[in-house]
Symmetry: D2
């Protein structure tokens, strides 16, 4: 059975986006990528100021309301349908709810008579290093990286974990590709 | 029956993105938006240089290959599944194939025992005005706007057409909301 | 004497950025552009949260502190020096202080024995239309456009005014180019 | 005498931008930053397709023409004037011409009776690591990082060198701040 989805989970500024771009470059097939950031981009701007939406405090804490959760659930169901329709999918997510977030995905994946083959990848990064990278990127509310570094992994089960603290994104991508037995023949 | 999807079709620089943001602001429910641009963002960067991907000539002509079409088809199937799962969806598309592009969506929408209620909207803009806006935005290959202005509408059937040549995006959004009998109570 | 600087002044969402890109495309020489947005990009991120920096209220009001003003003054002096060194310069500014803001520029321009030839251009946009475009662009705090539409022009003297309410950016750029007696020979 | 300018030189994807944001966060004064990227943003879009402008080959080689050089020279003169006017300035540059590029800056800095106190910083990054980061960022033509990694440092003299291969941007910024005897009191 071939892996149809790769679900990456890690805190803010743990290096997921760069890792995803390297994975897309390294894997021989064409993989589509979606995640927390592209979901928020797809939502109305007012979701970032309304009660039911997503709120980022000045200390970097993220709170998510009922409307956000409902949209996210329908979105995730659609993403799983893309994979069932034959697309290779990489998800770049932040499990704010830890194990509960994973179970939400798991439920959608098990749904139906056609279980998908998914690779679960934990993206770790030392808390202080993630906080330093948050300063270097300059487009995130300071504090998100530290707040999320550990909590997003609580109770989550992975097939594979990578750590970006001392390894480049490309090296982590190659670790994942090797685990899948895949590697693009370079042009 | 309530409208679950709004599919906007128009050429490059016809004002679709601004119209979508106004629609999201005007409509009372929370609508998710996806489209040609977000699909390309989700693809590997090499899709923009490979044979089977998407190629934009220096004169603004856009050619799309087999790999692109296959990913797009799975993507569209997933988007339709999001709508069936209860999300309100706005699609911001460019029907490079005119009527054939509409039929691809139509097939996915009719699929199954649960037909979706879709509003088809044509977004027109005078060719010269679209070409002028292409210069003003500065992030598109010159020529795309003129090349696509008419061809994307050939043989396409709409429930409603708006024209951004002389109307602001917000006015066009209100025309669409009025057609749906919807309008957000302003805060 | 040839015009060495064009200083555009207008409120938020009045269409200055698109107008500048069209001017750069239309004018035969290569013109460099700088303005309020690029100045803020050049500043430390903390200037947007510190007392002496720049603060944008949730209603779109903009307040500027002493540290901001000091940096802006040195920046403006440097921009004028670029023009004296031979670069053609377009400034895209928001005169939050109206006439006082113009006088600050005027003082720097008159400084020295080598007065620069400057074209002052007012960029008008109907308040309601600017507010509608603010919604369409989606990246500004709602209320800035309406708050600034008139106040930035109070007491300011122009060589030329353009109005983007009903005219495209490219048409306004051509009005300015015609005033200068300049027009690029199209390739 | 206090340092008024910090000039950073390093190849594409060597980590200069992140380092600059960390420096702006760490240094107690407010430092303005300018560089090769912001200069290109200030130029007309057609400079990227015209003979006298800047051309990036598909292999990542960068060629710069006479019009570009003339604008760059006036721009640099203006930046130096900003520093003389009291602004603290960080330059984030790519010395495509190696020692000759440094001499161009040096000439402007020595000009006049008021020599500026400048800190020259070399930003090194292992060629393979820079090439890997180029893939991870995904917005640069592949090959630029490798092509520039060494050549930009040829014959250049520095007060200080930092190496981002194994050190985070924030750590490199602190090395520079320590060298200056400066460090912001954290809030």
């Amino acid at each position: 059975m071939t892996t149809q989805m790769i679900i990456l989970n890690g805190g803010s500024s743990s290096g997921k986006s760069g890792l995803v771009r390297c994975l897309q470059a390294e894997l021989p097939e064409q993989w589509l990528t979606f995640g927390a950031d592209s979901l928020i981009d797809a939502m109305p701007a007012r979701m970032q100021t309304s009660d039911g939406g997503i709120e980022i405090s000045t200390d970097g804490a993220v709170a998510v309301g009922a409307e956000f959760r409902a949209l996210e659930q329908a979105w995730a169901r659609g993403i799983v349908a893309m994979a069932r329709a034959g697309a290779h999918i990489i998800i770049d997510d932040v499990f704010l709810g830890g194990a509960a977030s994973q179970q939400r995905w798991q439920k959608l994946l098990d749904d139906g008579n056609d279980p998908l083959d998914v690779l679960w990848v934990g993206v770790r990064c030392d808390r202080a290093v993630a906080a330093a990278r948050e300063i270097a990127r300059g487009d995130r509310v300071p504090g998100m990286a530290a707040a999320q570094a550990d909590v997003v992994h609580q109770g989550v089960h992975y097939d594979l974990e990578v750590d970006t603290t001392h390894a480049e994104s490309l090296a982590c991508a190659r670790t994942i590709a090797a685990h899948l037995g895949l590697r693009r023949t370079q042009p």
